[in-house]
Assembly symmetry: C3
Homo-oligomer: 348 residues x 3
């Protein structure tokens, strides 16, 4: 179990945008401690005994909810699960009122997922305005952020480089490609923040329709000619010299150390953002063939759930030489234990 | 934790209709003990360890189910949740057979919500007929009763008057208005029983279409003329001189100590029981303006979930000077711990 | 609590087809130990503390899920529930990938129900291929098997004969009728394996449309004439001299010691496999009248949930002189504790 003298003052975890190096390193170190706990015979610690973690999932999710639930149970917290299907939401109550109900019941930590960006922030602000000690943990809000996913990806990569002592600086200078539906991805947004902070070189690759307009202007002229009609010329410098944007897969993968591929939601196709899943796979799918462009020891990440044969070829996903996908899920429990511990242990 | 020498013999909690003063006071005193437990660092007690509380919610509810689940967990009971969506109900099993299945599994307490009045009573009767020791707790049945809500409202009011020693007699002589959709409200029904028992003066205010016919005949002639075409004249005395019935808000609020406003289900409008939500709010909505008729230290209660701007104005709901709505939710956990403790502690 | 020197090496419980006498007896003996635990004041044992049991129910079920959940909690395991309605299944993830996600999170035992036969086997094979120590427990797969139901039926019968020392050989020579929708019944399949293994004489009775074709050829010519147009004559001997097949109820019930009636899914009727529920009840429903053909101390079993008045008459179901239905549910918790214990206790 981690020592209690960690330099941690953050009360809510809503976004990685303003995370400091010290905070990243504290999360990584704490998660490493919990990974050690999880390797023991008895995988539970009494850290949060008597505390209540409410999983308020206004948007359904098995994977993330189970991961947080398990993390909370392994810290000996009690958990309450809320799913929209059986909720008062259908009765016209506002989201803030639902959150305040769980506050009044005595919940200590609220883990919140919502289809709209900003809901966890709004609930956190309300909890603070009311002078409560409740912490809010953003488990994915619309197309905004998914900070625990960003942190578990970071932990997975840093642990691969130095398992005993994962820390932010290990990623410095690494080339990391993020491929796929970036415009709709809260995972990509959280990852961009942490990777830039680490000093990595981040290359985004996506079809123009799946890239944020903000980034589109940074695509090089050469690529524009190939892929689509000209867009307005860039009129501002890239926000950071570490971020590169591509409309094609190749330049992103070339000599990459890590490739993060994103889930493609099939609804995008019906919205005419994509020609077909097959064509998407041909252009942006991660395959053994495509990986030849990367460093020889390249590793692939995916936040799951995976559409096999769309974002990534099926055999590659299962190849332990390349795939970190299972390691990400395992990291998820340790990282979420770390987050619940860091925001929760000050309460008791 | 409460002492074990409480004068409690009731095995099921189905209705407040026959609650005695001693029972009300035992619940209030026990809930006050648990409120003290909930203020401690470690909010759990081992009272019901090894017992199983099954939440059988045939009608979905987040708020009440979470409150009971948390109460059970804080007493260290194991909980099982049943929700209709994923149940055998779709397979044609009868409700009694479902309950008997949970009995045979070894459940000790069944917390039951059902859209039909009388289901918890029927299950309790069956449990007794079979000679079991299983207790049934009515968590809301149709338009019949919601006793734990009535008790938590009572606890909230009594605690406001004397936090250290909440007891039934504290409400004696208080004027309490219950406003809104009384005919469909199981909350109103449970509250009327407890408030009459306390010696309070209860004033019901609702549009004629949302008042039980039983009560309609007690509306004064003066009000009839104002509000709607004449109804048959009263032919029997009011069941108690403490109960008053109004078709208008004003006489109910005048000099009131407490105002209980009820949830208005929007379905009522489509059933032509109401002209519009806006008109309802104008006539029966609780606002700062309306509260000027009450005593200056009046407090407002609502069982939740609230339709802001319909039953109550949004700013009033959030005003801690007037609103007891959050306090009700907090009381709910303590009162439900008390109820589970009182019916459960005799079993182990 | 059972002693730890039990002769148990099986890692997954997927089917009763290859269960040995020693394994049946170990399950029966272990379940009897847990039944004793369940009769104590404190019904929990710390056996699986720190282990995680994931209930992956791709097909909804209240009864079986609650039974496994309660068994796991009474062994002090942590539980995770997965229900299809709120799962990533809707997001296109494969079943194996879902299982691997729970593996990566650190689950120790997966209890799996799926509408397709073979899913638990496939997941178990994948867990082994990956070199994991995760155990899979089949909680019902399509029309294939439901081994924990077969074992709890066995335990219920054996305990009735010798409560202190339930064992397989007690059923030797007993006549046991299995009546109803055999072709669609995973319960019947599991029961046939265990009953044949015990040396019981098993008589299947069903309308021709609800019997597996494999069995239909063993129906005697005499019955064929009565019930339906001639089918091809048998061309192979019955697989075991203990198994008898009937198109009518009477020969199955004559002098039977136990009658297992099966749930009739009403969907069968719309598929034209049955004329009407009333006619089915008249021909194959178990009633007091029908039981006169059996031994005088005959007992009736049903896996639940029951369609009262279809498979079995309503009064018979509730008659403790004949019905073992409640006893089956109670046995279920003890047997599932035994199974989780046997496959789980080697892990810690």
């Amino acid at each position: 179990m981690p020592t209690t003298s960690l330099p941690w003052t953050r009360h809510h975890i809503l976004s990685l945008a303003d995370f400091t190096t010290a905070e990243y390193d504290t999360v990584l170190r704490t998660a490493a401690s919990f990974r050690e706990v999880l390797s023991r015979r008895t995988k539970k610690v009494p850290t949060l005994q008597g505390q209540v973690v409410a999983n308020l999932f206004f948007e359904p999710s098995t994977r993330t909810r189970s991961s947080f639930e398990l993390a909370a149970k392994r810290l000996s917290a009690d958990t309450l699960n809320f799913a929209t299907a059986t909720s008062s939401m259908t009765k016209g109550e506002t989201i803030l009122d639902t959150a305040k109900t769980y506050l009044a019941m005595g919940c200590d930590i609220m883990v919140i997922r919502h289809q709209q960006a900003g809901v966890p922030n709004a609930i956190a602000a309300e909890m603070d305005r009311l002078g409560t000690r409740v912490s809010v943990l953003n488990a994915g809000d619309g197309q905004h952020e998914h900070p625990s996913q960003g942190l578990l990806d970071l932990f997975t990569i840093a642990s691969l480089i130095d398992s005993d002592n994962p820390r932010l600086e290990l990623l410095k200078g690494k080339k990391i490609a993020i491929v796929g539906d970036i415009v709709h991805s809260r995972v990509a947004r959280s990852n961009i923040w942490s990777l830039i902070a680490s000093g990595a070189e981040v290359h985004l690759a996506a079809p123009p329709t799946l890239l944020p307009q903000l980034f589109a202007e940074y695509v090089s002229d050469e690529q524009r000619e190939v892929s689509c009609p000209p867009l307005p010329t860039p009129n501002s410098p890239l926000p950071t010299p570490q971020l590169f944007v591509h409309w094609q897969l190749e330049p992103a993968l070339r000599d990459a150390d890590f490739v993060m591929t994103l889930r493609l939601q099939k609804e995008r196709m019906t919205a005419n953002l994509l020609p077909s899943l097959r064509e998407y796979h041909q252009m942006f799918g991660i395959t053994r063939e495509a990986l030849r462009l990367c460093k020889s020891n390249v590793k692939v990440l995916h936040p799951g759930p995976v559409n096999r044969g769309v974002e990534i070829s099926s055999d590659l996903m299962d190849d332990p030489e390349f795939s970190l996908i299972q390691a990400q899920v395992t990291s998820g429990v340790a990282v979420r234990m770390a987050l619940l511990y860091l925001i929760g242990s000050g309460k008791v």
